[in-house]
Each structure stands twice: as structure tokens, then as C-alpha cells.
Symmetry: C2
Subunit: 361 residues, 2 copies
Amino acid sequence: MSAKENPEVNLIFTNHVAQTLDEVVERMNPSSVHVLVDVNTEAFVLPLLQAESKAVANAKVIRVKAGEMFKNLDSLTSIWKQLGETDANRKSLLINLGGGVVTDMGAFAAATFKRGIAFINVPTTLLCAVDACVGGKNGINFNGLKNEVGMFRDADLAIVSTLYFNTLTSQELLSGYAEMLKHALVCSPQLTKKMLSYDVTNYNPDSLLKLLEESVGVKQKYVAADREDRGARRALNLGHTIGHSFESLALERKSPLPHGYAVAFGMVGALVLSRMKFEFPSDILNAYVEYVRRHYGAFEISCDDYKRLLAFMHCDKKNDRPDAINFTLLRSPGEVEINVPVTDDDITAALDIYRDLLGLP
Amino acid sequence: MSAKENPEVNLIFTNHVAQTLDEVVERMNPSSVHVLVDVNTEAFVLPLLQAESKAVANAKVIRVKAGEMFKNLDSLTSIWKQLGETDANRKSLLINLGGGVVTDMGAFAAATFKRGIAFINVPTTLLCAVDACVGGKNGINFNGLKNEVGMFRDADLAIVSTLYFNTLTSQELLSGYAEMLKHALVCSPQLTKKMLSYDVTNYNPDSLLKLLEESVGVKQKYVAADREDRGARRALNLGHTIGHSFESLALERKSPLPHGYAVAFGMVGALVLSRMKFEFPSDILNAYVEYVRRHYGAFEISCDDYKRLLAFMHCDKKNDRPDAINFTLLRSPGEVEINVPVTDDDITAALDIYRDLLGLP
């Protein structure tokens, strides 16, 4: 068995998911097992696991609707209810089988049901594997705000595999890969070059699993240093300030931008600012831009959009000062500067260069 | 200032509440202060604190309905909403001003709003001071079940005082004092004797504050040994197995029994069983029964009720075996035995003796 265990954070990277689950569940010896799915993972992933894993075959199935718009209080309430109806008690185990919405809600439900039961995350998307299932953040959207309600609690275990990615579209793979590129950029030149020479849309399950393990390792390092996201962990915000403003603008245009794409484009802006402020190396900037152009295309903006984008950035909850916006920037891959105040003029200049680099008119 | 700080658990025992609050809030330097009240504490306690505490005078007031029946998802949702509407952010502080319902819900809301903001509990009832605001348990009732949803998180600070007890009825004082008697019984003969010679219905604010500090100290010791209530903390279940069955029977009779009264009566049964099983000293049993008769009276049961009471006990969630019920019992005050299996016959015998001791026909 190729499973590799990290005792500190309860993460296993393996493509033998069913076997690993059965071993772990046997060791945990819960009084009952419940598995949370959405309509997608119920159709495409649950049957595979039910066929191979005794623990899942015997588990009680809890269902929620699929998609970010159902990451809400109604779905959370429904999970609590279904846990009660399927006789979960304090010694029960919940397996969250799905993408970020399922693991975020399932983790929060488990962490609060009868004041906390055990849970295992089995991410079925690349984005969730690399991001949502590590770091202990969970929660729901509430009152129109993302992740307004939730908490920090690590899963008892996350089983990361690439087994179920064959049902993902190229767009979903690329969306997840953007976070892996981010981890590479805040880690080292070596990992950055390795990630930029890998075509995730044409992945091999074993090589991608190895890359995932390296990438998640980077996130863990930052999370361990700053569990509640008040300092060092802000390295992981690279690309997110401009990225979020792109996401918000795309929403206004009624053509939503996948989160990973927004981050990929936002990091172009962040690396441009990093070059302006800290002489970030141009060869890596160019290689990154080339990767984005080839795989992600471009998020189209014109100078008419700048005012709106700046307004979004000033609203960003991570911002404390009215006269400048705090960015996470890089001196070079792995050399992170957090809380760098950047003026509107500098951002405007960076957006001009973003358009040039991505060939926008 | 008589405040005494326990650095481990962030508890201050003082009757200088306003001054203490202002000092602590200044040190915490939150971006905003919000104070949660119910209609009772809004009318009787909030004005006093607003007059004396700058922090409370400037705080934004968040309101919930009063009473256990409103310890539910609707009230929780309303607190989250009001936190958002009063512009709370991750660096805000919530002060929970009330009894157990307010501190349980306020703590859960604060622990989950934006993945957790700081909160201070200021209990205004004896029961909350001695019990609910220590130990980190919070939550709401859900789906007809008590505390079905919640978590463990310590308050950043609890300020325990006897200042606001003058609005409590004798029944409310005695209900809280039952938990103090319980703490004494699981602690030592000395503390038991001291508590049994104190008339809480005729209390002096300073002497009661000192007793409270001793009593809460006992709870802290057990909680520290077993934060998530899986072993040693079960000492604190003394009297609760029979007590809960009395509460349930009283509910069926449509004349609810205050929780503390149920515990006081339940402990008579538990001490009788302790005498039967472990030769618990008869002088202390008699002194305890005398205190209960004088102050609490008796919960009336006849042998016709035994079957129903046993059924309630078998349903109790803390019970794992069908052929016996697990009790927390005492060899003597402070010498606790948890998970003692007791047969229906022994319980029946104990209920007979309970009726004798309390002078029931």
C-alpha cells in the first residue's frame, strides 16, 4: 500500500482510498458511519466506494444539494437533522465525500453536532484536495457573505487521492491547479518551475498525486505557523486581492469566474506588483504569464473597469487602511512579504501591465 | 480591587464588574464591542452596567428572547444577523450578559461568527455562574433535543459576581445552589459540610462570592482533566441520572421541575445508592437530606411512577448497556466512582428509600 501518513496533520495521500478508509474506520471503531454526498458525488463516486469499501457500503447516506449556492444554513440544518434521523451519536463518524462545499459544510456540521463528532474528508475535486480540506477552516455562507459562519477544526483525517478527478472538466482541473501554482510561488523557485512545466489537463494520476502532496505540504507549513489566519498564513492570499475583485466584477457581469481562474489572473497582477516593488525575477514572471495565457486565457478588463475593481479591493475585509490596500507580494518565489500597502496608482499601473501581458486591448 | 485572576481559565471573581470589564476591554482593544442581552437582563442589568462601564455604554446591543424555549436555531440565526448588522468583524468582542441560555447561545454564536470572535461571559444567575459559564460547553437545542448542536470553546473571560442575584427568586438561587452542593460532594467532606451549613436564600454577596469561587474551582479541576466529557468529567453527572428522569416525569405531568431542584432530588437517590454500594457515610447522607427537605421540599413520586422513571433512565444518552444503568456514585465526599452499573432492582430500592427519607407517603 502506497499510503503515506503525516502524523501531525492526519493527511494520507493515496490512490487506494477504499482500502485506506476501511483500515482507518476499523481503527477508529465508531458507533456508526455516515457519509455525506451531494447529487454529483452520490452518482459518480459513492457507488465506486460502496463497491470497494465495507465501511462506506454499511454507512448511512446523508444528502445535500450540489453547488456553492446551497452552501447555506438550510443545507447545514438538513445535515444536522439527517445525522439525528440516522441515529448518529457522539461516537459516530461522518465521511465527507465531495468538493469544497461538501467538506466545508460537512466539517462544520460534524464539529457542532452534539458538540463535535469525528469526521474524515475525502475530497473529490482538485481544488478541494489542494485547498479546502486542509487548514481546518469550515463553514457556510450566511446573510449574503461568504463563510460568514464557521470555525476552525481539523478533520480527524483527510484522504487525498486523484482517483476521482477523471470526472472533472479541464476547467475544474485548472481551477484547482491555480492554488497549486500559488503554493509553488510562495514556496520556492524549484517547485514553481516544476509546476509550470506540468500540464494538469493531461495529468497522470500518480504524478499528480505526488505534486499534490508537495503542494499541500506548503500550505500545511503556513497553516501550522498561523492557524487562525492572523499573520504568516496571509502568504496564502497571494493573488487573492485582485482575484477577488475580478470575481466580483464577473458576478456583476453575470458571467461568474471560477475561483481558481480568478486567483490565476490575480496572481499575474500580484507578480507585476512584486516586480514593481521588490524586483521579482522577470524570467519567472514571464514563464508564469505564459502558463496562464496558454491554459487559462485572460479575464477581460479595460481601463473603464479600474474604478469598480479598486472599489471592490477597498471593500475587501482584509483591508484596514483607507489610503492603501494591503497585498501579499513576493521578492522571489518563496520570499513572501505580507501586508504590503499599495496605492491606487500602483494598482492601476499593475492592471495596465496585466492587460499588456495577457494581450488584452 | 478584590478581583482574583486565574490565568489558566480566564475567570475573574469580583463584585467590581464594570471596572473589571473596562480594564479587560481596554487591554483586549477590540475593533467594536457588542453586548448580548435577553429582555430580563436588558431591563434589570444592562442599565446598571451602562451607567458604570464605558465599554458597555458604547457597546451595540444585541437582543434575544428570554427562556429555554428560545434557546434555538432561530435565536442563534438572529444573533449572527445582528452581529453582522452592527458591523462586527473578526476583531470584535461579544459580551454575553445573562443566564445560561444567553451565555450558551452567545458563546456558540461568537465562536462561529466569521470563524470565531472573542467573547466574555457575565453570568447574571447563580446557576450560570456556577455551571454554564465554565467548562467551554455551548450550543442550542435542536430538533427537540437539548444541546444537540454546539461545541466546546472557553470564553476569553468569564466575570463571576453575585451583584445581580438580588433580582433572583429563592427558587432560582436554590436551583443554582444545587450544583454547588454537587461540586462540594464530589470534592471533599469539608466543603460539603461548609455548603450544607450555608443558607443561600439569605446570602451575603461577599461570602457567596467566596463560596462560588471554591465551587467553580471544583468544576474546573474535573473539566481540565477531561475537557470533552468522555471520562473523569462524568463525576459532574452526580444526581443527574435520577434527576433527569424526575425532570422528564415532571414535564409529562405538565408541571416542570427546575433543573437544580431535579439535581438536588436526584442526588438524594444517588447518595442512597452510594450508601448501598459503597457505604457512603450515613451522617453526611442525613445532613444532605435534611438540607434538601428544609430548602427544596420533595419531588413527589409513588411506586406507580417507578416503571416510567426507569424507562426515562434507560433512554438516557449516557447509557450503553441494556441490563443496567451507569451511575456516578460516591464512596465518600470527594471519592467518586463513575460508570457504576446499577440494576433496576437496586434503583427501585433506592427510590423507596428516597420516599422514606423525604417523608413521602
